[in-house]
């Protein structure tokens, strides 16, 4: 299930959100930004929803705050008041994925969270594929260095090693073409 974090200074909103989506997602809610950071640490949060207008800091400020440590979760801004400058700024800086206005439409919000989650997962997959590719690339580079060393020293290359290099090249090729 998707882990969703919702931050809002209005407790009733949190209750309503949890009631609406607890059957579909793992819902984490809090009114306190510090607690939200704690929740980010403890759970594999995929989607963060934050209210823009809060007494201590705004939603955009909160996103800026958590970006360095948690770059991956998809961020969505929720506000009742169209603070359009803040929204434009946030979108331009790539801090938020979507902007939702209150009162929310439950099914739309559901779809948005799903979409965001998919986005997150794609990003995640891309990330892991990239990592895998990087590992194989390093391994290939390592093998290639060994071969080049052997060739310089006049050591004959055995069939087994060559087959291994070929296999790796094929793998990389496959990953890249994926």
């Amino acid at each position: 299930m998707i882990h969703v974090l919702y931050l809002d200074d209005e407790a009733h909103n949190l209750t309503a959100f949890r009631a609406a989506f607890r059957r579909s997602f793992h819902v984490h809610v809090t009114t306190e930004p510090t607690e939200a950071v704690q929740l980010l640490r403890e759970h594999p949060i995929e989607v963060i929803i934050s209210d823009q207008k809060m007494p201590t800091l705004s939603g955009v400020e909160f996103f800026e705050l958590v970006m360095p440590d948690f770059p991956d979760p998809v961020r969505m801004l929720l506000t009742g008041h169209a603070d359009i400058d803040a929204v434009i700024d946030a979108i331009n800086k790539g801090q938020i994925y979507k902007y939702i206005s209150k009162p929310w439409n439950e099914s739309e919000l559901y779809a948005l969270v799903e979409e965001a989650s998919a986005q997150y997962r794609r990003k995640r997959e891309l990330h892991s594929a990239g990592n895998k590719l990087l590992g194989q690339l390093q391994e290939a580079r390592h093998l290639a260095r060994q071969i080049s060393d052997a060739l310089q020293e006049g050591i004959p290359i055995d069939e087994e090693r060559l087959a291994k290099i070929n296999q790796m090249a094929k793998n990389i090729d496959a990953l890249l073409s994926h």
């Binding site: 200074d9 209005e10 407790a11 009733h12 909103n13 209750t15 309503a16 959100f17 949890r18 009631a19 609406a20 059957r23 207008k53 809060m54 007494p55 201590t56 800091l57 705004s58 009742g80 008041h81 209150k102 009162p103 929310w104 439950e106």
Partner: protein, 713 residues
């Protein structure tokens, strides 16, 4: 006769100056004037005998001196003189001694026979004088030496033309004199009445002056010649003593008055005018001297002034030269008079033959002069008429010309006025249009300020409503789902039937399902959701209530309201806007008297000031949670009435002194161009003025600002 005239000449001679009047006294005694017996007289110097000496004593006095003149002139000494005349009884008995001087103040006559008084005539009028002159019938007495003693005194120069003649002769001469002076007086009277009549009918004061002139000059002539009693002056000894002086002064003044007017001296001969003023002053002095009894001094002054008669001649000549025609008449008439005077004097001097014409030259000359001057005055009427007509014609022409000019000017002015009026009207129209535009612009600005306020209000309300609507609607959907779960279990419970074993199994299944559905949590959630819905409904209701207060945003109606309610409503709206920017501290007094106000407009006031306060805090480097806007309300009870106060304070940078006085000015703003109209506080001021509220701004650079609004309760 000739002797009688010498005194007539006196006055005129005096007019010719001192020298002239001295003439008959000194050089007038010529050989062919045997009738004057001055050389037979003897004079006793005043200091030779006591003033109270008896006539006999005087007669015997040793100091008698002969007189070397036919007509003795004793001069004016203001003293009495004794004169002695030795008669010739053989020829002069029963003849008449005539003293041809009508102006003596005192004349005592004593007839002595051999040094003894045989008869005496004390006083001037006690004598049976013939005509106007005193005299004495010489009785036929048988004595060795028959003589007459005379004691004479006068405030005027004492001139004594004496003669001894047959009574018949004296009577005839007196008669002739009376006739001539009667005619003279008649002419003067006619002229006087004629000019008086002219004065009353024409109204020209020249005639009155001339009347006075005739009266006084004629009066002087008559008085000098012993006809003063014609004026009834003999009834008053006081006046009789002064008649010559008074007539002298009056005739001089009348002459000056008349000549001044007739010759228009002021215009043509200003120098003469000044001189005549001086003469007038001297005459006044002479008059006062006469009144005071200083007759000699008075007489000398009058004599001195008489010289003015000559000055009138060059004056008249000058006036003629300067084109003043009537002066010719004056000159001619005056010449007659002067010629008469000259003839008279020459006659007395023996230079012209003595006859009727020369004897009466004076009254004749004077009469001619008076008549001529009357004619001159009459012609002056015509002259005046002509001049008046000319002047009137000229005036008419001038008036017509003026009228034409005025008419032209008026037309010109009217055209100008018209032109200017049109320009002004055009300018006025332009100004009106401009004013209209300005008014519209102002209206628009005020409206936009109001709209901004309404916009902020609606945005705030929208936001405030958004949250409760959000969770109420969301909660209701969730609630439905929760109830579906609960209903499912309920339905399961209702469906339980059969044997106890079967029911136990069914129940166990239901319990499993309950655990699956986490119904415990659902139960708790339902409670939470309901709380949220309740809370949301309550908050919505509160906002709506706040809105109702502002529903009169555009209305100007004053209603009784609690300022706290208004402030709370404003704060409901503002709070959401402020939440992430500034901390609001609100201390509202629990009980406030209600005030009459326009809630919608006061909301605009509060919103404006609180927004300014919030913006001010953002100009500081304070973190958001330390930016503070403090709002208080309280009431004060003062002797002059209680008031409700609202204070809105911030911990911003404060207002610099140099702009403090400008913050309520329209279009004054510290915000960048385009961000504020600069009308906010000026509109606030207008609204507060409508509420008769006072504003106090407490501020100092670095220590924030507080606006304190004082509303009369």
């Amino acid at each position: 006769m000739k002797i009688g005239r010498i005194r007539g000449c006196r006055w005129l001679a005096l007019w010719l100056g001192m020298a002239a009047w001295a003439l008959p006294a000194s050089g007038g005694a010529q050989s062919d004037s045997p009738k004057y017996i001055g050389r037979r007289l003897e004079l006793l110097p005043a200091d030779s005998v006591s003033a109270f000496a008896a006539p006999e004593e005087v007669y015997r006095s040793a100091g008698w001196q002969p007189i070397e003149a036919d007509v003795p002139n004793l001069g004016s000494g203001d003293q009495a003189y004794w004169l002695r005349l030795t008669l010739r009884p053989e020829t002069e008995a029963s003849q008449f001694l005539e003293i041809q001087n009508a102006t003596l103040d005192q004349l005592d006559v004593y007839l002595l026979c051999d040094g003894e008084v045989v008869s005496s005539r004390i006083g001037l009028r006690s004598e049976e004088g013939i005509g106007t002159f005193p005299g004495l019938s010489i009785p036929a007495l048988t004595c060795q030496e028959q003589s007459v003693l005379m004691l004479v005194a006068s405030g005027k120069p004492i001139v004594l033309p004496l003669r001894i003649a047959e009574q018949r002769q004296v009577l005839a001469d007196a008669h002739q004199r009376d006739v001539i002076f009667g005619a003279y007086a008649g002419i003067l009277l006619v002229m006087l009445l004629y000019n008086l009549f002219l004065f009353f009918s024409v109204g020209d004061r020249s005639y009155l002056h001339y009347t006075l002139y005739i009266l006084s000059v004629g009066g002087a002539q008559l008085a000098l010649n012993g006809y003063g009693h014609w004026f009834g002056l003999s009834h008053s000894p006081w006046l009789e003593l002064r008649q010559v002086h008074f007539f002298g002064v009056f005739s001089g003044l009348a002459t000056i008055l008349f000549a001044r007017r007739f010759l228009q001296i002021q215009t043509y001969t200003p120098w003469l005018s000044t001189v005549l003023h001086i003469y007038t002053g001297i005459y006044a002095v002479a008059f006062l001297l006469a009144v005071g009894g200083l007759f000699v001094w008075s007489y000398n002054l009058i004599t001195f002034c008489a010289a003015a008669i000559f000055l009138l001649i060059p004056g008249a000549v000058q006036a003629i030269r300067r084109g003043y025609k009537p002066a010719i008449y004056f000159l001619v008439a005056w010449m007659f008079f002067i010629v008469a005077v000259v003839i008279f004097v020459l006659k007395d001097a023996g230079l012209v033959p003595f006859n009727l014409w020369t004897y009466f030259a004076m009254p004749l000359g004077n009469s001619i002069e008076v008549v001529l001057l009357s004619l001159a005055l009459a012609s002056k009427i015509n002259e005046l008429k002509r001049e008046t007509a000319e002047a009137r014609e000229l005036q008419l022409q001038l008036a017509q010309r003026n009228e034409q000019m005025v008419k032209d000017q008026n037309q010109l002015l009217e055209a100008r006025v018209h032109e200017r009026t049109e320009q002004l009207q055009a300018a006025n129209r332009d100004l009106n249009v401009t004013l209209e535009n300005l008014r519209a612009a102002q209206e628009q600005l005020v409206q936009s300020e109001k709209l901004a306020s309404i916009g902020q209000l609606t945005a705030g309300i929208a936001h405030e409503l958004n949250n409760p609507i959000n969770f109420v609607s969301s909660s209701s959907q969730s609630l439905r789902r929760d109830f579906e779960d609960v209903n499912e279990i309920l339905a399961g419970l209702r469906a339980i039937q059969g044997t106890p074993e079967e029911m136990a199994i069914q129940l166990e299944q239901l319990r499993k399902r309950m655990a699956e559905l986490d119904l415990d949590f659902t139960e708790q959630e339902i409670a939470e959701l309901l709380t949220g819905i309740e809370d949301g409904a309550q908050r919505t209701a509160e906002i709506v209530r706040g809105l109702r207060i502002f529903s009169r945003m555009d209305g100007d109606a004053f209603i009784e309201a609690d300022l706290n309610d208004l402030m709370n409503s404003t704060l409901v709206i503002l709070r959401s806007n402020m939440r992430d920017r500034v901390r609001l501290e609100v201390e509202l007094a629990p009980e406030l008297p209600h005030i009459r106000c326009q809630p919608g407009r006061l909301n605009q006031v509060f919103m404006n000031i609180i927004n300014n306060a919030a913006q001010a805090t953002q100009e500081t480097s304070l973190p958001a949670e330390e930016r503070l806007v403090r709002i208080r309300s309280w009431s004060e009870r003062l002797p002059e009435g209680s008031s409700v106060l609202v204070g809105i304070a911030d911990n911003g940078p404060g207002i610099p002194d140099d702009i403090k006085s400008q913050i309520f000015d329209p279009f004054f703003t510290t915000k960048p161009v385009g961000e504020g109209t600069g009308l906010g506080l000026s509109i606030v001021m207008g609204i507060l003025k409508d509420h008769r509220a006072e504003v106090e701004v407490r501020t100092a650079p670095g220590s924030g600002t507080e606006f304190i609004l004082r509303f009369p309760a």
